[in-house]
Amino acid sequence: MVTRQNKSNAKQQKGLSGGAILAGVIYVATALAILGFFWQSVLPLVRL
């Protein structure tokens, strides 16, 4: 019974991490978009 309860708690914790994943995805996407912005601005300067 105790083990089942622990498992259930663990599952709940696992479910909560969805928000963190989403925030992480947004964070990485923003960082990539900024790097893309630099790429876009520097590209005409270096004439690659």
Partner: protein, 513 residues
């Protein structure tokens, strides 16, 4: 088109909030997450595709987009939805009511593992990197200045490819179209001005009748959003037909463009200077035009009020004044004047791009005022007070009610990323001498609905991020805030050094006595 992007941004935000609430209610497996996200992304993509195609006049492509992406998105979303509801256990109510921020803070915290002892080489590298970064910045700054100056001739030539150009004056640089002595007039007089984000060069085409026939933008390093705004408003057209001896004063005989006031003021100043030079030196006219008065109207009073109140803790800290102040900052500094400070302003100052105080008091109050506050008082009054983007972030965070609190360790790691972004931004600005090229902040486009390229993606991401984490942009990505913090730190270090030196001098002085 801009409105479409805003609607799409709203839809994206709504979908993200929906996903968040759904994940609170059900334990989502990786399959559910993938299905739901893919479905939503496909639907949003199909909307963007279709609206874009319709606006471009290609309805066929719009319908194909809806069919291919929209339909498959709806199918995937429905399947993922049904799978989640039937297969995944629903969370207990009590669990849903637990303190989210605390739980996620634990989630975001990196696992506690014993950190291996850093090697001496690793330690040296971690100490050397900041010094190397500073040295490279100095090198970039010097290299930028040492690089070739402006070539006015090639700028003018690129605009008049088929015509013969003859340089008839050096200061200011004036070209005559056709051979020298071909006839009086048809001059292109070049003038430089200082915009909000950087300098620009304009060509003023003056004919034999002493009137302006064309204003030609030759080169600019201004924030692209402002340039687009004044071009859309056909700002240059109002100069056509004006006599060189006219007043050229904004709000009197020239109209400013709302949302790009500082750029229009700077451009008008450059045109006025050029036209009056031509009036005196070429057309031998007496200077009968009005003197430019100090621009101190409602705009300047409002900005000054917002800036001064940022020094009063009761106003920017305590409720309900805090909300009133924040709303005023968003409305005035943001939407009305679009004068948020960017890293380009600070770097531009280092490059010597300083607009005149008479015409650009707003710029002086915000940029110079903020820097003086940091240098003399050690206070950064701009961030979290005057900054309109923080106000927007705060508002979004209050609407969502979500507050993910990353652990200190994670915050420390993200700090190195924003440090790198600031460094990259400064490197690009110093090497190119173009402040707008390194200013990746989405402030100008947020408040003017004008942006370029990937800025359109940075803005919605920053806004969605602030739904989940308070001051998402300010804490994780803002180069301007970090630059001001660095200045504060430098001030502190210098003061400590001076104190130490004074203490030593005093101690040794006493000993020798």
């Amino acid at each position: 088109m801009s409105f479409t992007w805003y609607c799409l941004g709203l839809l994206t935000t709504g979908s993200t909030v929906f996903l968040w609430h759904f994940s609170k209610r059900y334990c989502l497996s990786w399959l559910s997450w993938s299905g739901l996200t893919l479905g939503l992304v496909l639907i949003l993509f199909s909307i963007a595709w279709s609206v874009g195609s319709v606006l471009e006049g290609v309805p066929r492509a719009a319908s194909m987009g809806l069919l291919l992406f929209g339909l498959s998105g709806i199918v995937i979303l429905t399947l993922a939805f049904r799978y989640t509801i039937t297969k995944q256990p629903q969370m207990l109510e009590s669990a849903a009511e637990t303190d989210f921020s605390e739980a996620v803070a634990t989630d975001l915290a990196p696992p506690k593992v014993k950190s291996p002892k850093t090697s001496p080489l690793g330690q040296t590298v971690s100490v050397a990197i900041p010094y190397l970064a500073y040295i490279l910045l100095i090198v970039a700054f010097v290299a930028g200045f040492a690089s070739e100056g402006k070539n006015y001739e090639s700028m003018v030539r690129s605009k008049f490819k088929d015509q013969q150009l003859t340089k008839v004056n050096d200061d200011p640089v004036v070209f005559q179209l056709g051979d020298k002595g071909d006839g009086f007039g048809n001059y292109v007089l070049t003038q430089e001005g200082q915009g909000y984000g950087g300098p620009f060069v304009l060509g003023i085409r003056i004919m034999e009748d002493g009137r302006i026939h064309e204003i030609i933008p030759l080169d600019h390093k201004e924030t692209p959003a402002f340039v687009k705004k004044i071009e859309d408003a056909k700002y240059r057209d109002q100069f056509v037909g004006k006599a060189v001896g006219d007043d050229f004063i904004v709000t009197e005989d020239i109209n400013a463009v709302s949302g790009a006031t500082i750029t229009t003021m700077a451009a008008t100043e450059a045109i006025r200077r050029g036209a009056h030079l031509a009036a005196v030196e070429k057309f031998k006219l007496p200077p009968t035009w009005k003197k430019v008065p100090w621009k101190f109207g409602l705009d300047e009073i409002l900005i000054l009020a917002v800036f001064v109140l940022a020094f009063v803790p009761k106003i920017y800290k305590e409720k309900p004044w805090k909300y009133v102040y924040m709303a005023a900052a968003i409305a005035i500094v943001g939407f009305y004047l679009n004068a948020a400070i960017s890293v380009g302003n600070i770097a531009g100052l280092a490059l010597g791009y300083i607009p005149g105080i008479k015409d650009h008091l707003i710029w002086w109050i915000l940029v110079v005022g903020t820097l003086l506050g940091v240098v003399f008082l050690g206070q950064n009054v701009y961030c979290y007070r005057v900054c309109p983007f923080y106000g927007i972030e705060y508002l979004l965070q209050k609407i969502s009610g979500m507050k993910l609190n990353p652990s200190r360790a994670l915050l420390k790691r993200t700090r190195s990323i924003v440090n790198f972004l600031l460094w990259l931004s400064l490197m690009v600005i110093f090497l190119s001498k173009h402040p707008a090229l390194g200013s990746y902040e989405p402030f100008a486009m947020m408040f003017s609905l004008n942006g370029v390229g990937l800025q359109w993606f940075i803005l919605p991401l920053a806004l969605i991020g602030s739904f989940f984490m308070s001051a998402f942009w300010c804490r994780f990505f803002c180069p301007c805030g970090l630059a001001l913090t660095k200045l504060q730190q430098m001030r502190k270090s210098i003061l400590n050094l001076v104190q130490k030196l004074m203490w030593r001098t005093r101690t040794y002085g006493n000993q020798t006595e």
